[in-house]
Subunit: 120 residues, 2 copies
Amino acid sequence: MSKNEFICDCNVIHKDVVESTIKNMPDADIFNKLADFFKILGDTTRAKILSALDQNEMCVCDIANVLGMSKSSISHQLGTLRRSGIVKCRKQGKEVFYMLDDDHVQKVFEIGMEHIEHRK
Amino acid sequence: MSKNEFICDCNVIHKDVVESTIKNMPDADIFNKLADFFKILGDTTRAKILSALDQNEMCVCDIANVLGMSKSSISHQLGTLRRSGIVKCRKQGKEVFYMLDDDHVQKVFEIGMEHIEHRK
DNA sequence: ATTATAGTTGAATATATGTTCAACTATAAG
DNA sequence: CTTATAGTTGAACATATATTCAACTATAAT
């Protein structure tokens, strides 16, 4: 079996499989964006925030109270969610109301839930 | 407006919304499992591994070569994926072939991709 | 204007986690 | 039995990130 022509510390065992797999892999760029998206959902606090916002649009203090966490912590996470285009907000007086920006989130959560059910 | 009865550093502004949202929130347990599942997908290396395994079952060295990474690193990640029930493996001689255990992964990726497309 | 409250933000801290390294096990071949 | 290779694993290291804290801005009310 041929030695490794790729940048790796081990041999290529099935050259044909490796080469065809590499050929069909999406660009690294895609994986970075995809991983970033799932990373956002992969945090308990953010998951709870999104679940809450799936019920109602809410202001920062209300979300903080629903989760039993500090205003600052929630605001930081909302900033992260907003920069990722997953939530948007509107300002009304002193309050800032946050809401889901993207219906994909709900669908992704559903399938995640299916996976959890399937696992136990 | 009533002061906060919850463990939080700020006021409840819309008591009715907060209470009904709390009432309808899934258990903390669910959020932990859900976040853990997405955390797994939220890493570039693991996302690439899963994409590769979606094409073919593959041994550790082949995966390492497809990704251009060390055997050890890939093995660690495969361990993580296996413990999460996302991949399974079969042993054949010295080689261990890994494959997807769960068809939910593919569906989740598809929706993630839709989200990315939608975002640009 | 002053005061109070909603929300944001940067820095610091603590924790989680991905990769490397080295040592290890297991199987196959000579 | 010895050697080579596939794969695993724990510890160490480096990096990423969630929460806290304190200071800040913005709006509203007195």
